[in-house]
């Protein structure tokens, strides 16, 4: 099984530890993982700003760079959702091979335990990022009348000692929104503040999620306000890097 690691731009530059944890987690299951150095951007920013040609060019490049791999795995849910849903139909082979980390662990590897047991005796408040939630069915959105399920909850069941809670307004957006965070900075910050307050009000020590950009945005709000709660990407938790 040839696996190509796709590291979104913001993770590469701003949260390299998340990519390292993802890599080590996959290697922990005995897999060989390659990081193709020619990778750049998946094209989501272009797409979301209306530059469809630019987005298609980026998608075409993405498909070429990852052409030789059976699976493309990434710790970035939002970029994966873009590649999976918004790239040209001609790239359908790429679309169906791209997985967010937890999806890959659950749907392809069908893991029942972690490579190294993790004991994490802490309360964590789950952050269901919108694109994972509503574009990749990571959980049941609160708007829908459907049986409840949550991928993140299921994978956290493999961690010892952890207790999972949700904020009030279980799945409201944190306000990051890609370029929205600079186009509409005041609304973005107001949403981020409300979201952080919601997570903090549960008494949890960590906000755990699968989308690094939301966690980065909430982390910025937390630092500006000097709050105690900490954002934590699920890959870090699953590799025992909870930092607690």
């Amino acid at each position: 099984m040839k696996i190509g690691l796709f590291v979104p731009c913001h993770v590469n530059e701003l949260a390299p530890e998340v990519a390292i944890a993802t890599l080590e987690l996959l290697e922990g299951y005995g897999l060989t993982v390659d990081y193709p150095l020619a990778q750049t951007c998946c094209g989501q920013p272009q797409f979301n700003n209306g530059d469809l040609k630019g987005a298609d060019r980026a998608a075409g490049r993405f498909a070429e760079v990852f052409a030789g791999y059976d699976y493309i795995v990434s710790p970035g849910t939002s970029c994966v959702s873009h590649v999976g849903a918004h790239t040209p139909d001609a790239l359908s082979k790429t679309r169906s091979r791209v997985y967010e980390l937890v999806e890959f662990l659950q749907d392809v590897l069908k893991v029942e335990r972690l490579p190294k047991p993790v004991y994490f005796p802490h309360k964590v408040s789950l952050h269901q990022s919108c694109h994972g939630l509503r574009l990749r069915a990571h959980a049941t959105p609160s708007e829908r009348m459907l049986p409840y399920q949550s991928r993140l909850e299921r994978i956290l069941a493999l961690v010892d000692g952890v207790s999972v809670v949700y904020p009030q307004r279980r799945d409201e957006c944190c306000g990051f929104g890609g370029s929205f965070c600079v186009d509409e900075p005041e609304v973005s910050v107001a949403m981020g503040e409300d979201r952080v307050d919601g997570h903090a009000a549960t008494g949890a020590e960590f906000i755990v999620g699968a989308e690094p950009s939301c966690l980065m945005h909430m982390g910025g709000v937390i630092r500006a306000q000097d709050k105690a709660i900490r954002p934590l990407h699920i890959a870090l938790l699953l590799t025992g890097r909870g930092g607690a």
Binding site: A15, Q46, G54, C130, E143
Partner: protein, 459 residues
């Protein structure tokens, strides 16, 4: 009428300057979303209903011409006079003509977003007709000379204190009495006089049934019923997308509408009109005003399924934190942000960007309009027509160049990471990301790419 030079980010900043009031606005509207969720939870068939509603509307839109003609035939058989208006101006002329021919100088109106869209009130007022909005929320914004800030709850942006002051000034209520029941009774007494003295009543239309030629109007205050029952002339104005084929389809929509809109199992009044009252007249004005153009657009025709329940506004985290007045089009929130740009992308481009693409609206919408996709598709129109701010275009263009050159891409990232930490604090704050309340991320010493080259790269 609405000032269409509004740009969402600037208006939202202004609204959020009073953070306490903004928080109150957010929670007042979230409360309605929660009521909606509670109603949904009582109907196991909820998702099936949504699918049926979507399909009935999609089917109707695919043969709209046939259903419109069938409706017209049936309505005329019933004694209703049917008028066709190609645009807002023709709509206004028809309504004014009907009033002028009968010497009517006072019109009582129940809620109709269509007449807001057409600017009917100022048109009639300029021609000497007194127009009284009779929905309580609409009456409040009318007395304040404002547009509605929400399509179902027009005065949701106001607190009872503000309404008390307004009524003290306009209706002579007791100073300092904020009691909602007292204020409502005062408005009601005042409106009752207008109902009795008006020469005509105008209502909107929620559903028009092709099979029966019937009109259905859903309200909670009974004002549409008084307005249509007291004066001798009833004018009903509807957009041409309000049709459903048969009476048996109506239940699907009435079950969804009030639950989605206000979290009630039904609207207080669901009134059916088929023919004029004895001695009275019933006229219906069917308005296009840009709708058939939207119907012809592959990317956007789905927005015509909308039943104007307002649920997409209530769930929208941006709407709740910026209010209806931050949007340049008369209909705010997610649905307005596709309808407005469909009408005029240059004027309303900022609405299409007032969205994080969280897609909550897509999931809440009772007729399953893919609203967030439509907004992103409107961004593509903004890009193609040059309606984007120049800076944004340049930034996305530059990203395109970097995307094709991995070495440059890595260099740009590194520069960002290395430069920010050594900037003086003041300068580092001067970027589009940092705001009071949000700090820049910490900049790691090494990128993942650099780490990989050091630790994993096979020679």
């Amino acid at each position: 009428m609405k000032d269409d030079s509004i740009r969402h980010p600037a208006a939202a900043r202004e609204f959020l300057a009073d953070r306490e009031r903004a928080r109150w606005h957010d929670s007042a509207i979230w409360w309605v979303r929660q009521k909606r969720d509670a109603q949904m939870a009582q109907l196991p068939e909820w998702e099936t209903l949504r699918t049926m509603a979507e399909q009935i509307k999609a089917h109707t839109l695919s043969r709209l011409d046939e259903y419109l003609e069938a409706f017209e035939r049936k309505a005329e058989e019933n004694g209703v006079v049917v008028h066709w208006a190609a645009d807002a101006d023709e709509h206004n002329r028809i309504v004014h003509g009907l009033l002028a021919e009968r010497g009517v100088n006072k019109l009582v109106k129940s809620k109709s977003m269509l007449t807001e869209e057409c600017g009917l009130n100022p048109y009639l007022e300029a021609r000497g007709v007194e127009v009284i909005d009779t929905d309580l929320g609409e009456r409040i914004v009318q007395l304040r000379h404002e547009a509605p800030s929400h399509i179902v709850m027009p005065a949701i942006h106001l607190k009872k204190q503000q309404i008390s002051e307004l009524f003290e000034r306009e209706l002579g209520t007791e100073p300092g009495n904020f009691d909602p029941t007292y204020l409502t009774h005062a408005a009601r007494a005042n409106l009752r006089e207008h109902f009795l003295s008006a020469g005509a009543g105008l209502t909107g239309v929620n559903f028009a049934i092709a099979e029966t030629g019937g009109l259905v109007v859903c309200t909670n205050e009974g004002n549409a019923d008084l307005g249509s029952a007291l004066p001798p002339l009833h004018i009903a104005c509807m957009g041409l997308e309000k049709l459903i084929p048969r009476l048996e389809h109506l239940g699907v929509f009435t079950r969804l509408l009030a639950r989605s809109a206000i979290g009630s199992p039904t609207t207080t009044y669901t009134s059916h009109f088929h023919k004029p009252r004895p001695g009275g007249e019933l006229h219906v004005v069917i308005v296009d005003n840009g709708r058939s153009e939207i119907l012809g657009r592959e990317d956007f025709y789905q927005s015509l399924r909308c039943i104007r329940c307002g649920a997409c506004m209530n769930t929208c985290p941006v709407y709740r934190r910026s209010s209806g007045y931050s949007y340049s089009y008369i209909i705010p929130g997610p649905i307005g942000s596709t309808l407005g740009p469909s009408r005029d992308i240059r004027k309303h481009a900022s609405m299409a960007f007032a969205c994080t693409t969280c897609a909550s609206c897509d999931n809440v919408c009772p007729v399953r309009i893919p609203l967030s996709e439509q907004l992103v598709a409107q961004r593509a129109r903004a890009w193609q027509t040059g309606a984007l701010p120049a800076g944004k275009r340049a930034a996305i263009g530059a990203l395109g160049v970097l995307t094709r050159h991995p070495a440059l891409f890595a260099l740009a990232g590194k520069t960002l990471r290395k430069v920010f930490p050594i900037l003086p604090a003041g300068l580092a704050q001067d970027n589009p990301y940092s705001r009071p309340g949000r700090a820049l991320p910490e900049m790691p010493a090494q990128s993942f790419r650099e780490w990989w080259l050091q630790n994993r790269k096979k020679p």
